[in-house]
Every structure is written in C-alpha cells, then in structure tokens.
C-alpha cells in the first residue's frame, strides 16, 4: 500500500466511511434544531452511499444489479432514517420500510421463506408490539429525551470504525480459501480454474425451497427446533409472570394504603 490513491477502491471506501460517520453525527438529534446541519448531513450520507456503490462489485447483468441496488438502497436509507428520526413512531414506520427492504435483499439472495417470514414475523408481529407500547407510553409532543442523543460523536465513530474494518475484511475475500489474504480483485472469483463438480441445483435455489428447508430443519436441526419452541413458551410464561408480579405488588400497595387510611380516620 504505497501512497494513498483517493480513487482506488480502498481510498473510496475510506472516504465513504468517513462521510457516513460525519453524516450520522450531523443527522443524530442534538437538541438544537439546525435545519442546515441536517441537510448537510443528508448530503454527506448520500455521498457515502455513492462511494459504497462505486466500490461495489459488479454482478452478472444489469437487471440483477438494478434489483439488488434498489432493494438494498431502500433497506439502508430507511435504516438510517430509523436511527435519526426524532419521533419514535416515525422511527417505527421507517423500520417497517427497512424490513421490507431487507426482505427484498433476502429474496434476491434466494431465501424465499425467510424473506416472507421477515415481513410476517418482524413487521407483522414485533413491530406492531412496539407500536402498541409506543401508544401506551409515549408522551404527547416530542419528549426531551427524543431530541438529544447520548454521545453522538463517539457513537458515530464507533459505527464508522466497525464499518471500515468490516468493509476491509469483506474486500479481502477471495474465491479460493488458501489465498485468503490476497488483494481484492475487481473481476470476480479468481480461482474458477477448479474443476467444476457435478452440477446440482444448489440446495437453497431449488424449486421446492420451502420443503427442503423444512426437511433440513426437522431433519438435522430437530432438537434445536424443539428447543426454540420451548424458548417461546418460556418467554410467554415469563412475560406473564413478570406482569402478574407487578400487578400483585400494586394491589398489595393499594390495600396497604387503604388500610392505613382507614386506621387514620378512626
């Protein structure tokens, strides 16, 4: 790595990471409502996205690339919006959109069941629970604690460092396991000279994807599935127990207060 070429893949990546960090810092709520700073942050974020897209690998065809780009952009932009939204309800809605994007990415990767499951379970169940709690607990108007962040600079830096390291490591991936630390190549898998084994439908890409997934789950991972079921039961019971205990405590306190009041009035 002699000299720093800003337009080398490494340089662009670094620039993108820095821009992403800066944009997050500016976009995170910080008390003062300076609109210009938020616009600047948004621009920086877009610049970061552009950098990442520029260093992305070229997929097979334009259609593939376009689809992947669209769904991943949806996921990433809505994820960013979730994190920086002032109002938590808006954040929840943006998260729903992020889930949609993620489902799209999963579908592009061939995980049919998981893509749908993400929508159904996450967006349908978990997110709705979050919204219920928000309705119960969120004060009218913007709460002060929604308008401030906790150490935005350090958090943005942490995210940036992590992203940088991960991107670096991803860039160093190569096809052959033995050359694990070779320079990232632009042109795709390098060791295509290995003799191609018998062409079978890659399992996840087969037609009966869900059936095979079910077979895999209840075949090799039966015990884990059962354990997951038990975990769900335990979570259910636990949640009820915690609430019940809370109710008991409240009822007891109220009874004590009533008894005290009666004894005083005597």
């Amino acid at each position: 790595m002699n000299g720093f070429d800003p337009f080398s893949p490494g340089g662009l990546l670094a620039a993108g990471v820095v821009a992403a960090a800066a944009s997050l810092r500016l976009l995170l709520p910080s008390g003062g409502e300076s609109r210009s700073l938020r616009w600047l942050g948004g621009l920086l974020g877009l610049a970061a996205l552009a950098a990442f897209i520029a260093t992305g690998r070229r997929l097979g065809g334009l259609g593939e690339e376009a689809v992947f780009l669209i769904v991943s952009l949806v996921a990433i932009v809505s994820a960013a919006a979730t994190v920086v939204s002032r109002s938590p309800v808006y954040a929840a809605i943006w998260f729903a959109l992020c889930l949609a994007g993620v489902a799209g990415v999963l579908l592009v990767l061939g995980a049919q069941f998981l893509g749908v499951a993400t929508i159904v379970v996450y967006a349908g169940a978990i997110l709705v629970m979050f919204l219920f709690v928000l309705m119960l607990a969120q004060p009218a108007g913007l709460a002060p604690y929604d308008r401030v962040s906790n150490e935005p600079l350090l958090a943005a830096l942490a995210g940036a460092v992590l992203l940088g390291v991960l991107s670096l490591s991803i860039g160093r991936l190569s096809a052959s396991p033995s050359a694990c630390c070779g320079l990232p190549s632009r042109t795709g898998p390098a060791a295509a000279t290995a003799p191609a084994p018998a062409v079978t439908d890659a399992d996840p890409l087969a037609a009966d994807h869900v059936a095979r997934l079910g077979g895999e789950l209840f075949g090799r991972h039966l015990i884990a599935v059962e354990a997951a079921g038990v975990l769900l039961l335990v979570a259910l019971v636990g949640a009820i127990a915690v609430v019940a205990r809370g109710e008991q405590a409240r009822a007891a306190a109220a009874a004590d207060a009533r008894a005290a009041g009666r004894s005083l009035s005597r």
């Binding site: 906790n150 460092v161 992590l162 630390c181």
Partner: protein, 773 residues
C-alpha cells in the same frame, strides 16, 4: 575439700543469686508471701561462698610481714567459664602502642605479628580486692533481703522486689569478679538497669518514674565514657583481659592488669592516650558513684524503696566507680594529672554534698548527700596514687558499706513506723518509742561522723593521712622519705625513696600542673572541713529525729498495726514548708518499733560499724591483704608503700572537726522540737543556695534537657510532617486517581455500553492490523 578449689567456687557467687532471681520470677506469684525464699537462699549461699573465698584468699596471701621485707607477691586465681568470642587474625596494632610492643619479656611473637588475635573469654578472677568486694556485696545483700521481708510485707510487688535484688547481687558480683573490661562494661550496664528498675519500683508514682529515668540517663553519660575507654584500651593494649592469656598459637598475650605487664616498668602508656583513658574511666566512675557533675541522680533515687537504697545507693552499686578506679590504678600511674583530677573531683564533691546535706529536712536525702560526700572522700583518697591511698579508699568503702547500710535501714525503719512520712520536721523524740532503731542509728551516726573508736574514725583517718602524705611527697619531689618529726608534719613516714616511674612522656594537655603541692594542701583542708560538716548534719538528723518531745504524725503505725499498710510509702512530703500536720502525742508506752525482721539486720550491722574499724586498723590486716591485689603490686603502686602507723596529729585534727560539728548540731537541735525555725533561714541566702542543691538541676535543665527536648520536638515534627507527609501523599495518589476515574461512572448505561463497544473495536482493529496481508 580438695576438689572444690576456689576457682570452681568462684562461679557460685554470681550463679546462686542468678538462680534465685530466675526462680523468683518463675514461682513468685505462686509463692505469695514466701516469695523471698529463692532469692534469699541464693544470696545466702553466695554470702557463704564469698566468706569461704575470702578465707581461702587470705590464707594464700599469708601473714603480714614487716615493712621492708620482700614485696608481697600478687594473688590471683582465674576461672575461665567459656569463650564468648574469639578471632585468630583480628586486627593490626597501631605502631608504638604496647600492643605492638616487642619489649615484653615473653616468647617472641610469631612472624605473622601483623594481625593479632582477639578473644573475649568469660573469665572470673579472684584476688584480694575481689574477695573483699564480694563479701561486702553478698553480706549486705543478705541483710537487706532479711530486712525487706519485713519492710516490703504486703506490697503487691513483693516477688518482683526480691527478684530484682537477687538480680542486682548477681550483676554486681560479676562486675567485681570479671576479668575482662568488656564484661565489666556489660555488668556496669546491668547494675545500672537493676538500679533503674529498683528506683522505679513503684512506677505508678510519677516522681519515682522520673527519678528512675534520671538515674539511668545520668548513668548513661558515664557509661559512654566507659565505652570509649574500652575502645581505647583495646587499641592501645591489644586485649581487654585483665589477666595474661595464651592464644591458640601459643603466644602469651599480656593482659592489661596481668602479671607480665604489671612487672614491666614501662608497660602502661601516658601521654594523650593514657590521659584520655584515665579521664574517661573517671567519667564513668563519676556517673556510677554520683560525683560532680553527675551526682544529680542519687538524691532523687530515694524515691525507691529504702532497702534498695540501702543496698544499691549506699553500699554496693555506687562503689562500682571506686572499684573501677582502684582496679585500673596501674593505668592511672603514668598520668599524675589525671590522678590529681580524680582527687579534686572527689574533694569538691565531698564538700558540696556536705553543704547541701546540712539543710535537708528529709532523712533519706540527708543520707543520700552523705553518701555522695563519703564517696567523694574515697575518690580523693584514690587520687593520691599511693598504696596507702588505694587501701584507705577500700577500707573506707568497707566501713561505709556497714554504717551507711545501717543508717539507711534505720531510716527505713523510722519511715515504716511513721506510715511513710520521712520529713524530720513531722516527728521527733522517737528514741522513746523506737529504742532499738534509735540505738543502732546512733551507732551508725557516730561511725559516719568519725567519732573514735567507731569504724568511720579509722578509715577517715587513713584518708586524711593519705592526702597529707601526698601533699608532703609532692612538695618534696616525689620522695616518700620521712623528715624530722614535728607536731603537724607526718613523723611516722619512713622508708626508702621511690623512683620516679614510667615513661617521662611530655604532658601535652597540661593536666599535670594539677599535681602540685598546693592542690593537696587545699584538698586536705577541704577534707577536714567536710568531716566537720559530716558530723554536723549527721547529728542534726539524729537530734531532730530521736530527741525532743515525742511527736508522731497521723497515720503512723503502732507496733500492732503494721501489717496492714499498703505500698504507698511516700518518701517525702513536699507539702508545706512551714507548719506541718501537728501529729499527736502517743499515749503511754505505745511502741512503734519495727518487727524483728527489720531490727535484726540493724543490730547485726551495728556490730561491724562499731568494731570493724578498730579491728582492721590495729592489725593492718586489710592493708596487707589488699596489697596482694595484682593491680596494687604494680611497680608504680607498690613502690609508694609506707609503713603502717597511727598518725596522732591527723587523728586529733579529725576529732576536733567532728566535735565542733556535733556541738553545733546539739546547740541547734538537741532536745528541741524539730519543726522549729530551720537552719535555712539562719543561713540566709547561703541556705537558699544549699537548699536548691547549688542549682545543678536547674542548670542541667536549661543547658541539656531543654535543648534535647527541643531537638526531640523537631524530630517529632519532622517525622509527622515530612516522613508521614511523604507517605500520606503517596497514599493519596491512588485516592486522587480513583476520584478522577470515578467521575466516569455516571450511571448512564449507554455510556457504559459505548465504552465496552469502543474496547471491542480496539481489539478488532488490532486483530485486523495483525492479520493484514
């Protein structure tokens, strides 16, 4: 018994009291009121052995021969117990010192003479001087132990007292029997420690604790002198032994006071080193024997129990200084200036102490100053440097032990009967109610005052004779020849002249100028005046206590009620000077006499106080006996021998002085109430000077004590603020650091999570850096 030779018996004298002390410490609590038995058995055994040894040594010395016969040969018996330390090639002797001396008529030294061997044997030596001292120590110790069974009866520290007394007898016996200067130093310190423990016996009383501390610290000054003297002795003579030893290579190592060196005319050094050694030994003796300027501890030491005062501060411990100088007499002979200084110190102390003693109202204080004064006499006699002077000093030591112990025990008897009151102004006319005590006290006082034919008369007379002879000899160029008789010149001195002795080293310090005839004349007259003062204050005390109307203070114990007294014997009431509690007149024939345990020793001691002077003087047994001591057979000392004679002129002078003193005392106090107008007021400003002890305590407080307290305060401040400050500051650093770091613990969980994440990221980045291609 042939197998029990004196050398093997000698070790029993210190050993038996030591065993008694150990047994008392171990079993004292359980024995209760019989706790005195082990100690008394030990001391009694030691006394028996000491008397046996005295007889054996006297037999060895042989009968007295007339003056002019062949010189007495030295008598000594060495008993080496074990080797404490021994080095073959220890040091190189400084050139010119006797240690490097090759003139000694012994085997030629080995080729390897550059490194001389050095050893400390634990050896005891029995010679006439030691035998005499051992007898005094053990016999007086035994009588004091018997007395204490009555005096200390009922005291909660009863076992401790006897353990200490036995310990003291052991230490003092070892001190006089040791044949090595280092051992002498060890036991010098030991007797100082026993003295401290006995003075502070009732340590809950602040005055007693303070007095004990004062005694020990003043003794320390003297001990310092002795230590430096020991160092110089070793450097000069190459050994610390008294006796000759044979080293492992077969070389005879001449001891400092061994036969070889004593026979050699030039065996002892003079000059600066010799004078330094002598002066340091004098300093040590002053500390232990309470001479000017280190005398301040002895009067305060009366805070201790009276039997302890009788044993330690009258008869034995304070005589350690006399013993040391007598033993080291050959070392002093080449330094006439130092000898003269010894006499000057002694004479001055005698006079000053006698003056202070005239105005004391506390019976024990009178006796304490009397002790200091009599010790001064002994020093004056020692400083004459003649055989007569040395033997007179030891003779006076012997008689003084008898009558001073008697007087102290008598004072204790009075104090015991009067319920702890010892201020003479508060009682009087006790001869009617305490006849035995009164009679024995009178005998002791007569002995002290030098009334013929009691013991003190003869020993004091010998001292006066020594002083006069020295003065005469100095005036006539060192000769001890006699000149024609004349009323006030010594007619009885006859004999050959003695050669001037020793290396005629120049006198660098100018100290020899002290050794002039004028000095000795002045000292003689000082001694006479002191004799008169001694008689005065002694009989003043006798008249105030035992004559006059019989008065007894409140709280006095009649004969039937003495068992219940506690231990709070106040040794003096500083209460009111003028009018005291009036006391009361006892009715009828109530006796306040002490129990037999206390009167028996009084009666026993009265006998030698009356007779021993005449007995020893008329036969000259002691003089002849002591002349066989190796130290006194040194050529220098033995050559000053003079024939034994009774000097009538000096006897008359002494008696006149004593008579004047007694008469003046009688005029003032005989038959009068003792709380009448006091001598102090009669003397005016002089009385104030005497009563304030010549302001020695105040001067010392200003010159020594206050600066030392200031230094101690500075040291304490330094310790508290600098040293502790450094340590505390170092201790505060972690606290401060912690305080800074603690502020990051804000309780905000997201900050904690952020810290954790940053740490993990640091590790990840590090790993990625390590694994880069």
């Amino acid at each position: 018994m042939q197998e029990l030779s004196p050398t093997s018996l000698l070790v029993l004298v210190p050993l038996l009291p030591l065993l008694g002390a150990i047994l008392t410490v171990a079993l004292g609590r359980r024995l209760g009121s019989k706790a005195h038995l082990p100690a008394m058995a030990g001391i009694a055994g030691a006394a028996a052995v000491a008397v046996t040894l005295l007889v054996a040594t006297a037999r060895d010395v042989g009968p007295a021969r007339g003056h002019g016969a062949e010189p007495v040969r030295p008598v000594e018996m060495i008993s080496t117990l074990w080797q404490w330390a021994s080095f073959d090639k220890a040091y190189a002797a400084p050139p010119g010192s006797p240690a490097a001396d090759l003139r000694l008529e012994s085997q030629p030294l080995s080729r390897d003479a550059a490194l001389r061997p050095f050893s400390i044997p634990v050896a005891l030596r029995l010679d006439p001087l030691t035998a005499t001292m051992l007898t005094i120590i053990t016999c007086v110790g035994l009588l004091v132990a018997i007395y204490s069974t009555g005096y200390m009866h009922g005291d909660p520290g009863y076992p401790r007292f006897f353990a200490l007394v036995a310990m003291f007898v052991f230490s003092m016996s070892m001190l006089v029997a040791a044949s090595n200067f280092l051992l002498v130093y060890v036991f010098w310190e030991a007797v100082g420690a026993c003295s401290y423990l006995l003075i502070g016996f009732w340590f809950t009383k602040p005055e007693a604790a303070r007095a004990a501390k004062k005694a020990f610290l003043v003794n320390r000054v003297g001990d310092f002198g002795l230590a430096i003297a020991v160092f110089l002795l070793w450097m000069t003579y190459g050994t610390l032994d008294f006796h000759d030893t044979i080293s492992s290579q077969g070389v005879i190592m001449p001891g400092i006071l061994g036969q070889t060196r004593l026979a050699d005319a030039g065996g002892y050094v003079g000059g600066i080193v010799g004078t330094a050694i002598c002066l340091l030994l004098l300093l040590a003796a002053c500390g232990k024997s309470a001479q000017l300027p280190l005398h301040v501890w002895l009067p305060d030491a009366m805070e201790g129990p009276t039997p302890a005062s009788a044993l330690i501060h009258a008869a034995t411990m304070v005589t350690a200084g006399i013993y040391l100088i007598a033993r080291s007499s050959p070392l002093f002979m080449p330094c006439p200036g130092a000898l003269a200084l010894v006499s000057i110190v002694g004479g001055t102390t005698a006079l000053v102490a006698a003056l202070i003693g005239t105005v004391q109202n506390d019976l024990k204080r009178v006796l304490a100053y009397s002790t200091i004064s009599q010790l001064g006499y002994m020093f004056a006699s020692l400083g004459t440097g003649t055989l007569l002077g040395f033997t007179a000093a030891i003779f006076h030591l012997l008689t003084h032990a008898c009558f001073k112990a008697l007087l102290f025990l008598g004072a204790g008897s009075v104090m015991h009967a009067m319920g702890g009151v010892i201020d003479m102004r508060r009682f009087g006319g006790l001869r009617r109610v305490m006849p035995i005590t009164a009679a024995t006290f009178l005998v002791g006082s007569a002995a002290l005052a030098g009334v013929a034919p009691f013991a003190g008369f003869f020993s004091k007379d010998e001292i006066l004779a020594a002083l006069h002879a020295k003065g005469w000899a100095t005036a006539h160029g060192g000769h001890h020849a006699a000149v024609d008789a004349s009323p006030f010149r010594p007619a009885s001195f006859a004999g050959e002249a003695s050669a001037t002795w020793g290396p005629t080293a120049a006198d660098p310090v100018g100290l020899d100028a002290l050794d002039s005839p004028a000095t000795w004349q002045i000292l003689f007259w000082m001694a006479l005046v002191t004799a008169g003062l001694t008689a005065f204050y002694t009989f003043r005390a006798v008249f105030m206590t035992f004559t006059g109307p019989t008065r007894v203070p409140e709280g006095a114990h009649p004969h039937g009620g003495h068992d219940t007294h506690g231990h709070a014997h106040d040794s003096h009431d500083h209460g009111s000077h003028g009018h005291h509690a009036h006391g009361h007149e006892p009715q009828g024939h109530v006796s306040y006499e002490s129990p037999p345990a206390m009167t028996f020793p009084l009666m026993v001691l009265a006998v030698p106080s009356a007779l021993i002077g005449w007995l020893l003087f008329s036969t000259n047994w002691l003089g002849h006996f002591l002349s066989a001591t190796p130290s006194f057979t040194a050529t220098a000392v033995a050559s000053t021998a003079t024939p034994h004679a009774f000097h009538m002129d000096l006897a008359v002078q002494g008696t006149i002085a004593a008579a004047i003193g007694i008469v003046v005392a009688a005029i003032g106090h005989l038959g009068r109430r003792s709380d009448g107008p006091q001598l102090e007021r009669f003397l005016g400003p002089l009385g104030g000077l005497f009563a304030n002890k010549f302001f020695f305590d105040q001067i010392y407080a200003a010159l020594v004590v206050r600066p030392l307290e200031g230094l101690a305060m500075l040291a304490a401040l330094f310790d508290r603020y600098v040293i502790d400050g450094v340590v505390d500051t170092i201790a505060r650093i972690p606290l401060a650091l912690g305080g800074i770091i603690r502020r990051s613990q804000s309780g905000l969980l997201q900050r904690y999570a952020l810290a954790g994440v940053l740490g993990v990221l640091a590790i990840v980045v590090l790993l990625a850096w390590q694994l880069r291609p």
